[in-house]
């Protein structure tokens, strides 16, 4: 390479830095005195009583995250392109979590001690972060900058110190208590765990099939239900018999979805023309699944509460031969949404159809126009006469629009009760509002 080529290279590349980092961070954000048994007052007719309110864990320790990262900073073309890339690996040990304990441990319910915090295992997070800032146009009157952010994270549980090696989280609605997520070694945290719907009983022949030995076998039915209007009938869901034991019960639950996104991204554009400036920010995530949990109750036409209008799409049944008997072989579906079950004739059948399954799983990807702000700076010459240094009028719009296929109010769901193991469960979460702001900035 001769000197002139080297010189050209220097004007292209302004900065190239390679970074390597390593660190450890501790965390002890659990309630105070979790290591001992705290007593809380409870009224009684005998005077104030005192009852143990938490379960002590004298072995409790700090949680530590060890992280290492490798990054590259690149500036090119007179800093018109700035590119930052980071690859990281984080390992968390002695994870602090509320431990699950069996019902006979007396750690759930009114009057019970709360479950102890335990250093329950280890977790790894690894991923990639990319940032690209560009100055696209930079004239005297007009400039346009763009900034792009891309993040990808993969999470995996490395060890879990529970007896069974799994950690479940449940939701309770009235008397219905259901496990909604399961965290297990080798998988990401908080995976949705439930039944799988594989079809609907539409013909009499759906109740039987030929197995590997070519024998006619009955399709697995939910435990305790038989073919009949009060049991399993045309229009009810077919669930996957995961363990192939011929009956659908709690052992046929499996991992049905992942609340964690494949990647998340943000796009920002800033325009300025003379004294006007316009800033548009978009952000989105892609590839995550969410559970619209309330649909279990609001889409069941048998419930006697207010319902979603989609509940009207239930499968309507009619007799194939109007003079024939009401037998499952003489019944067909004549109308209704092709994914909805029939109105069950008994509460057992209704509970069966609306059990927690992938029926309530939806694609939670979204792209949201997060912020549009538009402002005008009054020219110096104009405002100096009034003794002002700076006068800006602006309007700010937040949460302008969301592009999504999710049928609930708002796909940006986060974690229920700030519990990371209950991420992606929409249990009637209050949607983010759209905020319009109009403002005036005055500097004296």
């Amino acid at each position: 390479m001769d000197a002139s080529e080297l010189f050209n290279f220097a004007t292209v590349l302004n900065n190239l830095k390679v970074r390597l980092g390593y660190g450890a961070v501790g965390n002890q954000s659990v309630p105070n005195y979790a290591f001992t048994s705290i007593y809380a007052a409870s009224p009684t007719p005998f005077g104030a009583g005192l009852l143990a309110s938490n379960t002590a864990n004298p072995d409790l320790q700090w949680e530590t995250t060890y992280s290492s990262n490798l990054g590259v900073d690149l500036n090119m073309f007179n800093n018109r392109i700035e590119f930052i890339a980071d690859v990281y690996y984080k390992k968390t040990k002695d994870l602090l979590l509320l431990a699950p304990y069996p019902d006979y441990s007396g750690t759930t319910g009114v009057g019970a001690t709360s479950a102890p915090y335990v250093n329950i295992g280890s977790l790894e997070n690894k991923g990639l972060e990319l940032t690209l800032n560009t100055v696209n146009i930079d004239n005297e009157n007009f400039s346009w900058r763009t900034n792009l952010v891309f993040t990808l994270n993969r999470n995996k549980v490395l060890g879990l110190a529970t007896e069974t090696g799994i950690l479940n989280r449940t939701l309770q609605q009235g008397s219905d208590i259901t496990i909604v997520t399961r965290t297990a070694v080798g998988k990401p945290i908080g995976q949705f765990y439930g039944y799988k719907v594989i079809g609907r009983f539409e013909d009499a022949t759906d109740f039987y099939y030929r197995n590997e030995n070519d024998q006619i076998t009955p399709t697995a039915l939910p435990e305790g239900l038989a073919i009949g209007e009060n049991g399993v009938w045309i229009g009810d869901y077919i669930f996957e018999d995961v363990n192939s034991d011929g009956v659908i019960n709690e052992q046929d639950r499996d991992y049905i979805g992942n609340p964690l996104p494949d990647f998340s991204y943000g796009i920002g554009n800033t325009f300025s023309y003379k004294n006007f400036d316009l800033n548009v920010q978009l952000s989105g995530i892609y590839g995550n699944e969410v559970v619209n949990y309330q649909r279990r109750f609001l889409e069941n036409p048998r419930e006697n509460t207010n319902l979603l209008h989609t509940a009207l799409g239930y499968a309507q049944l009619g007799l194939i031969n109007p003079d024939g008997p009401t037998d499952y072989r003489n019944v067909e579906i004549i109308a209704g949404d092709k994914y909805m079950p029939r109105i069950a004739a008994s509460s057992a059948a209704s509970t069966s159809n609306f059990r927690y399954s992938n029926r309530f799983l939806e694609d939670g990807s979204y792209l949201r126009i997060q912020n549009i702000s538009f402002g005008y700076n009054f020219p110096r010459e104009l405002i100096e006469r009034f003794g002002l240094l700076n006068l800006k009028i602006y309007t700010n719009l937040q949460n302008v629009y969301t592009f999504t296929k999710y049928s609930g109010y708002d796909p940006e769901i986060g974690s229920l009760n700030q519990d990371a193991l209950l991420t992606g469960i929409d249990n009637g979460r209050y949607p983010s509002p759209r905020i319009y702001t109009l403002g005036l900035n005055v500097k004296f």
């Binding site: 409870s42 009583g49 069996p102 019902d103 057992a348």
Partner: protein, 511 residues
Amino acid sequence: MLFVGFYSCSDELDIEPQDQIAKENFFKSEEDFRAATAPLYNRVWFSFNDKFYFGLGDGRSYNLYAPFSDYVYPFSDLTETGLTGPLVEAWRSLYIVIQQSNNTIEAINESAVDEELKAPYIAEARFMRGTAYWYLASLWGDVIITTSQAEIISNPIINKSPRANVYEFAIRDLEYAAKFLPEQAGQAGRVTKYSAFGMLSRFYLSYAGLSDNPNSGTRNQELLNLAKMAAAKVIEEGPYTLLDDYADLFKVENNNNTESMFALQWVPNGEYGVNNPHQAFFALGSEITGDDAAYGYYTRASYDVLKEYETNDTRRKNTWMADGDFYPEISQATGGYTVDHENTYVNVKKGVVGSNSDNPDITKQNSGLNTYMLRLGEIYLNYAEAVLGNNASTTDATALMYVNALRSRAGLAEKTSLTFNDIFHERRVELCMEGQFWYDLVRRSYYQQQEVVNYIDAQNRGTITPFTYDEVTNTVTVDDTQDPAARAVGVVDESIFSCLIPNLKWFKTLC
């Protein structure tokens, strides 16, 4: 480096909370012990009282018919599974009592107070624990016995113990309580040594029928004798006496009366967790409660239980309210409450007490009425049943005297001899809606299983019979103008006497 080493094991590094009550700075005196055993009378029993007291005791035995209450109908329909929410909650609720009792016993044992002062308080906690274990043994049979919450936290997998061992454990707890509880309650409502003997008479009767042959037809005579002695001790030496009027038992102003031996102590106007929501579940309408917490329109007497009552039995009106019944203590401002609707259904009265204007201790969703867990009336019946024992009938004068005391209080004629069915019937009507009848059926199934299966079969839970009710004569008549409705119920066989243990996965590694 040597310098640093001296400070690593200093006591100054052990922190005791200065602003909170922790185990280390509590349990230093008898007042502390009293404060520690007090919540064992209400808060720890809250979940059990809230739903399962009547859901299992009266729902599962089909005294109660509540087809829309999901903590009653799975039990009356015999369709619950190990995952049915209410069954899981019932199981949990009993272990809350057990673990908090364990915590209290452990803390008292570890405290520095004089040993003789500790015994009566440990006895109170063991009374509670033993009672909870009796419920567990009766409902589930083989259950987990645990005496330390801290041990479970470090080692959660525990084997189940066979039912007989659980009964023995409960009996042992109550025998300790009978030895160390005081003769007189320090505060009205606390249990005494005689409460423990009374509870023992029930436990001995329960356990007496258990053997390898559920159709043996006979009970263990030694246990029957123990039951008789325990009951006799309560009746003859204890401070308890029957109230003159059955209706007075269920009035808020009579909480902790002379017949009450162990009752859950709710706090009038108290917060959630120390309230008694029974009235909200049972009251027919808001005219009774004076507020909108009255969900009992469809919580009704079953056709089967209405057939039990004899014509003049005043206990019917005090347990169930029918069209035409008049209650002067409810809606006193308007001169009393008369039930007025079609005479085709009968709602719950026991537990329904009126509105805040009738008694200021009654507030929304909190009747303030203490929940009977044991009263003298039951001891009278326990005595009679223990005396009857394995005989076909008895004319024992004392047994007759006790049963007739209950009958004449109810306005009924006296009996001259007692058969098992007489006593069984008296128990059902005397203790109806006090969460007892299912346990009577269970303990009878230990030695007369087929008879009980037949009895429950004859209750015909799968058919809802339309009827009309005459409140004056306590007569229920089938209404031929209406068709009976069908209801999907489970199979009635010997499996109904032991519920499925919830959350089987914890036992997966053991089976």
